[in-house]
Amino acid sequence: MARTKVVVDPITRIEGHLRIEVQQENGRIADAWASSTQFRGIELIMQGRDPRDAWAFTQRICGVCTVVHAVASLRAVEDALDIRIPPNANTIRNLVHGMQFVQDHVIHFYHLHALDWVDVVSALSANPDGTARIARSISPWPNNSATYFRGVQDRVRRFVESGQLGIFTNGYWGHPAYKLPPEVNLLAVAHYLEALDWQRDVIRLHTIFGGKNPHPNFVVGGMASAINLDGTATINAARLTDIQGMITRALQFVEQVYWPDLLAVASFYKEWASIGGGVGNYLTPGEFPEDDVRNVDSLYFPRGIIVGKNLSEVLPYDHMKVKEYITHSWYEYDGGDGVGLHPYEGETKARYTGPPTPWEYLQEEDKYTWMKAPRYDDMPMEVGPLARALVAYASGHEGVQELANEALGRLEVGPEALFSTLGRTAARGIETVLLARRMEQWFNDLITRVRAGDTATFTKDSWDPSTWPATAQGYGYLDAPRGSLGHWVQIENGKISRYQCVVPSTWNCSPRDGQGQMGPYEAALTDNHPLVDPERPIEILRTIHSFDPCMACGVHVLDANGGLVTEVKVQ
């Protein structure tokens, strides 16, 4: 029996630093380990800071999902200080977060994930007339002429012939796992390029409300950008018109380019609907409060838990059931490696016990990553688009059901196909379409209130630290593009005494726990998973990229000597 240990490090086209090691056996993956190889310690740095500054610190956890840690932090602090933000501020945050989702998911599809499915070199042999025919058959998008695609092809040809391939150097071009006809490859390459310009445009919504992107500005109590239709330096009619244009262009691109492309590409890779499923448990705290964030019934995407791929039952989410384990992580607990701790009791002492660098292989039987292993009710959980889509689907969310059924029908597969690498990628598309549509609604909500004379974007209640209780604590949930995010803050005498985050990529990239249960990446890579050529591990990239890893988010440190530990407020 041929057994080969395969190391892929760095995994590229992700945020941050990830190493995958697998045991290959007869063209399949027999075992897998995911290792995060960066540690920064931001939570420790938060000690003693002004809680109103926390959003800016935590935002720097990640520059790709640049909004999510800021908003989760705002919610945690506003929960602790019992601050109710004005409806306009909530709507603006939804718009900002919504555009984050839409832009991030489209970039992921074209610029991070597509090259796993699209052979750029093959596009050179396409017949542009055929590409144009396919393009017109799936979408009314205006750039669909043979002339246009021929132009793209000429440019790609010159690029390839130049010998200076830049970022395309050493790609796995010609790998037998690439299944698209040349004409579809050409279509995808053309849209890869179009998406570049598109993303720079639509993200300017963040710049208008937050001053810049990445890392737009927020403020505890609402938003800093005042609305005054007659002002020159405020949100005025010109700004609102610009925003409306971006929302329209975002929706057009998503509906006419991204979603049709996704379905077209997926239809050539149906076997991936039974590969890479994984742990089969799914968690979402829900997202996009249409009312105050405390009213979880108002969430556009509902919260819940699905266990064992059972779509007939959605369990309630209770964050008190979250625990983190370190059996296989480079940390130590006072109580030893066997215990799991809720974030409020969390402690972390980073303690590297791996081999000296340069590494050959990690010591997988022992500790092998900077990620802890979060577990819900002692079960590993997948978070992200698929978790949201499944919970929404099972909860009767009409929009999700409609699009999921459309995708399943087009691919001629049943709902079980969602539990897969392809399902994850399709779920990302489903929520992108829905959110691009929903943003129009939120924009109209904002306009309606402004028209009625409500321009408030900020409440100064509890802004002044002298009004704060001596101790306070709060929980901020948020479902980010990559999945469930939780921030917990404890405040003593006006300063942060403890700050903790449990983030999407910690869930998904978790190592094994004390019971030997794999994390979602590991479980997916060993679920009916091929790996044909260890030198060109394209299959590994497909499944890992289907999670959209965001490693910088996943690594954090808690304070072992923090302040009080008391009961958590449950929202």
Binding site: R40, T207, A224
Partner: protein, 383 residues
């Protein structure tokens, strides 16, 4: 910036030939060079020289290392600039190694980096984002099983020039904030035998990176730097001295809380904690995301992210700076406010002093005071 252009610039082709094939007229190109020259702080006299040098440029190899970081700087750079002709200049390079964008992974990716470094030894531009953790022998960031420090030292050796992009590569950034758990430092603290250009900011404006690269290609040398390694063309002036809300500062017209009447009039954010008086940045001039807006333009005070140590020196972010460039602005502000009724002389004088007086090292020592519970004064000139 480094995405393959829809019109790739092929090897052996000069920019002039490249542009011609893309249907860009000479006139458009010169107009663009004039704009670029303005960004670089060059006089219009130099525009023809800039145009000529750019036309003759060939694509250099760029190796972009991403070390201990959040990828925000890469994201910022890919949102650079004008939609059309700006892209052409972004095409000035062949990006041979960049984690976020490259097709290859694992060994194939690492060998692409080594090939580029060997083929272009002594010629490639090294761009670095992210800090270098030094504690515990650097184990807090590894790529391909090697530490960030080792990778940086190797890549720096054959580089023609090093551009440290963003606050992490500049001085360590948030990882290096108190108590700096991983011992994070910037590039220039590891690489001491070569000049390092620091493109400051968390993240910096992508256009500053572009302009710095263009400067290197055009003049064959790095731009003039300040005492902290930052290009003067971008970081030579304080935000406060370039701020469109400056007149409100001079007039004593201040926002007291967000969304108050003053905020709705776009007045000065100094009293909400603005660090513009202590921050050197091109934000007010270049602005963000295709000149859409910038932090103060969107109503939030500057947090001073272009300054070394800002997480410790500029916090709390909503606390007021006690003084500006060596004189007591808190007192001065009220004085100015009082003077508004009588005339604007004091304001003009304050402006002149503030513009001339700053020194880079001095401003780093400025403490930040807690925001007072009740707004001070009352003679600040609002009506």
């Amino acid at each position: 910036m480094f995405y393959p252009s829809s019109h790739p610039w092929v090897e052996g082709e000069t920019l002039a030939e490249h542009l011609e094939k893309r249907g860009v007229s000479r006139r458009d190109f010169v107009a663009f060079c004039a704009e670029l020259g303005a960004v670089l702080g060059l006089g219009s006299v130099l525009t023809p020289k800039l145009a000529k040098a750019l036309q003759q440029a060939q694509r250099p190899s760029v190796v972009w290392l991403q070390l201990q970081e959040c990828t925000g700087c890469v994201e910022s750079v890919i949102r650079t600039g004008e939609p059309t002709i700006g892209n052409l200049v972004l095409d000035l390079i062949s990006l041979d190694y960049n984690h976020t964008l490259m097709a290859a992974a694992g060994h194939a990716a690492e060998s692409a980096m080594h090939d580029a470094m060997e083929q272009h030894r002594g010629e490639y531009l090294l761009v670095v984002t992210g800090s270098v953790p030094l504690k515990e022998d650097g184990i807090y960031t590894t790529i391909g099983g090697r530490t960030a420090k080792e990778i940086l030292e190797e890549a720096a050796e054959g580089a023609a020039a090093i551009i440290a992009v963003g606050a992490c590569a500049h001085w360590g950034n948030i990882q290096a904030a108190r108590p700096n758990p991983t011992g994070a430092v910037g590039v220039s603290e590891v690489i001491r035998n070569k000049p390092v250009v620091n493109i400051a900011g968390c993240p910096p404006i992508g256009d500053v990176v572009t302009a710095t690269v263009a400067h290197f290609l055009t003049f064959n040398r790095l731009p003039q730097l300040d005492g902290d390694g930052r290009p003067l063309f971008a970081y030579g002036k304080r935000i406060h001295d370039q701020c469109p809300r400056r007149a409100h500062f001079d007039a004593g017209q201040f926002v007291e809380t967000f969304d108050d009447e003053a905020a709705r009039k776009g007045w000065c954010l100094y009293r909400t904690g603005c660090k513009g008086p202590a921050s050197f940045s091109p934000c007010p001039i270049l602005q963000w995301n295709q000149t859409t807006s910038w932090p103060i333009g969107a109503g939030h005070p500057c947090i001073g992210c272009t300054e070394r140590g800002f997480w410790d020196q500029m916090t709390p972010f909503y606390g007021r700076l006690p003084d500006v460039a060596g004189f007591g602005v808190e007192g001065r502000v009220d004085l100015i406010g009082g003077a508004v009724a009588a005339g604007v002389t004091a304001g003009i004088a304050a402006h002149a002093v503030a513009t001339g007086i700053h020194r880079a090292r001095q401003r780093r020592t400025l403490p930040v005071v807690e925001q007072s519970q009740t707004p001070k004064g009352g003679s600040h000139g609002e009506n």
